[in-house]
């Protein structure tokens, strides 16, 4: 921003904000064609609503809007295609409503199926990469720290901000593709340095260190975090420096399900939190919270909606299973086939890697059904007659009841494998007591 622009921005009336560059104005006036114009119009109107004084160029985009929710979404995507739209920055696609690699996986037919497919094809036609995953950051799309991007899908947003240190707001369906077509986003929220500082400290030092080593802890902490801090930026202290990317991914996904978390820091682990002072930007926190073991245990219990021991299916992979997670699962696989359907949702990149390496067979032998391109809460995949799902995902636990009608039992990866092998819930309660 030049000094003149800055002065202009200060004196601008609300109607004339944001201040646009000559290039941005040209796009808005239609000089680059009708699709970028429509996209820029939406971006500018949103910038005005958000009070942004200018736009920011984005280096990449991740699109959540490719999932079918109804015919309006298809109509919008096809409108952009018919206007000749092409994304202006590298852009990946989140899940769709179909498994394109295994068309029989999703029970969908007629109009719904046709429209879901049309929507996926329209986004491909706009020049987006058909990655079909909610974990694009584990499928080669990893923006650098400090880079401004426009990402949709709440778990991907919180991962990009927190774990990669890239800068994005939570871009909803339609805004994501508009930013990708316009190459701009409103310069506001988490694009601004001052909004990325933690204002809340979450002190986990009192929690049993052995529990904090376990994967099963992270969705629980994330669920607590989302429900407690919501939109505020927290820095978590007392987590082991060995916390893995997949643990942080699970924590972020859960936090963005139970609240509007877009960014959190973990002291000594995430890039903007080398230490507490840096994460807080040298200021005093507004609040210091110390979740107690008892409280987290309650949160963990509330992730389950039933106390039954009868389960009809297990589902893993929200966010989509990574290479490391497949390795953990592989090591736990029983000799005998599972007694109930066992789903693992993942991106096609990961699926293809399993296939090429020959490891796929080991999973299929015991009945693991690998779902690619989509997942069990956004498409009818779970057995029609079942009623209880067991999962190790905080996000699945949160959304399954409303989107599938299933009750949920939350447990660790190990719990899920042992339960599926016997057909009855087995949970290791030890570390929670």
């Amino acid at each position: 921003m030049t000094t003149l622009d800055a002065m202009h921005a200060v004196t601008a009336t609300p109607e004339s904000t944001p201040t646009l560059s000559g290039d941005e104005r040209a796009v808005l006036e239609g000089e680059r064609g009708p699709a970028p114009q429509l996209a820029m119009r939406v971006v500018v109107r949103m910038a005005r609503i958000l009070g942004a004084r200018e736009l920011v160029p984005v280096a990449s985009a991740h699109i959540d809007g490719c999932l079918y929710h109804g015919d309006g979404g298809v109509e919008f995507a096809e409108r952009l295609v018919s206007l000749g739209g092409k994304v202006g920055v590298p852009t990946t696609l989140n899940v769709g409503a179909l498994d394109l690699l295994n068309p029989r996986r999703v029970r969908s037919a007629g109009h719904r199926r046709e429209m879901a497919l049309r929507q996926m094809r329209a986004y491909e036609a706009l020049g987006c990469r058909p990655t079909w995953t909610c974990a694009p950051y584990q499928a080669g799309h990893r923006p650098a720290g400090g880079q401004d991007v426009a990402w949709g899908e709440s778990n991907a947003v919180v991962f990009a901000n927190s774990v990669l240190g890239a800068r994005t707001n939570r871009y909803g369906d339609f805004m994501d593709i508009c930013c990708a077509l316009a190459g701009r986003a409103p310069r506001t929220g988490l694009h601004l340095e001052e909004n990325r500082r933690a204002t809340v400290v979450v002190d986990t030092r009192a929690i049993n260190p052995a529990l904090k080593e376990r994967d099963v802890f992270y969705p629980v902490l994330g669920t607590w975090l989302g429900a407690t801090v919501d939109e505020r930026v927290a820095v978590v202290t007392g987590l082991p420096e060995t916390a893995t990317e997949d643990q942080l991914k699970a924590m972020g996904a859960a936090s963005a399900s139970s609240g509007a978390v877009g960014l959190f820091h973990v002291e000594g682990v995430t890039p903007e939190a080398p230490d507490l002072a840096a994460a807080l930007g040298g200021k005093m926190p507004e609040a210091i919270l110390t979740p107690r073991a008892r409280e987290l245990r309650r949160v963990r219990d509330a992730l389950s909606t039933t106390g039954t021991f009868e389960i009809d299916a297990v589902a893993l992979g929200s966010p989509h299973f990574s290479r490391d997670e497949f390795s953990l699962l592989e090591a736990l696989l029983p000799r005998e086939p599972f007694r109930i359907p066992f789903y693992v949702c993942t991106g096609r990149a990961e699926y293809e890697r399993l296939e090429t390496s020959g490891r796929l067979r080991r999973f299929e032998e015991v009945g693991v059904e690998i779902v690619a391109d989509t997942c069990v809460v956004v498409a009818p995949i779970l057995p029609a007659r079942g009623s209880v799902l067991m999962t190790n995902s905080g996000k699945f636990a949160h959304y399954t009841p409303a989107t599938t009608g299933y009750d949920v039992v939350y447990g660790s990866l190990e719990d899920c494998v042992r339960s599926a092998a016997t057909g009855r819930v087995i949970r290791d309660e030890g570390l929670w007591n």
């Binding site: 949103m46 929710h69 979404g73 909803g172 339609f174 809460v377 409303a402």
Partner: protein, 143 residues
């Protein structure tokens, strides 16, 4: 009662107030075809948003809620207006896209958390929302 607020999106809408007892994610929480609250864990499960002045402290949850907003407008089961306790950038996006596609539109206004507190017991009252470029107002009459 009269409440002034900031316009999030201009327009006019009338209907009976539906004050959400708890925040709600439209995605996973509202059926896009019927406009009813579809999250069984929400205290107002089954209630229809269609034609109501929807009053909510804040929007939460999935960023796909904008897509549900678009479908509600397309299927004619959208609220008549949305009154928020804090500005939300997700729902209004669905309304902007609806306008681009030539569907019906609705106003959204932000009355702040104080404003929300003043109408949180107004469930069932008759509401009238008018939002211009700079000013927005909600009139409520209990009857």
């Amino acid at each position: 009662m009269e409440l002034s607020g900031a316009p999030v999106h201009a327009g006019e809408g009338r209907g009976r107030l539906l004050v959400l007892e708890r925040p709600l994610s439209f995605w996973g929480g509202v059926d896009p075809e019927t406009g009813r609250v579809s999250d069984p864990r929400h205290p107002q499960y089954g209630v229809s948003l269609g034609g109501r002045i929807l009053v909510m402290e804040r929007a939460i949850g999935s960023s796909s809620s904008s897509a549900i907003m678009l479908e509600l407008l397309r299927n004619d089961v959208a609220p008549a207006a949305i009154v928020l306790g804090s500005t939300d950038a997700i729902l209004v996006l669905g309304v902007l896209v609806a306008e681009e596609l030539g569907y019906a539109s609705i106003p959204l206004i932000d009355v702040g958390s104080d404003g929300f507190e003043r109408i949180r017991d107004g469930n069932g009252g008759h509401g009238h929302v008018r939002a211009g470029a700079r000013e927005a107002i909600l009139r409520v009459s209990m009857s």
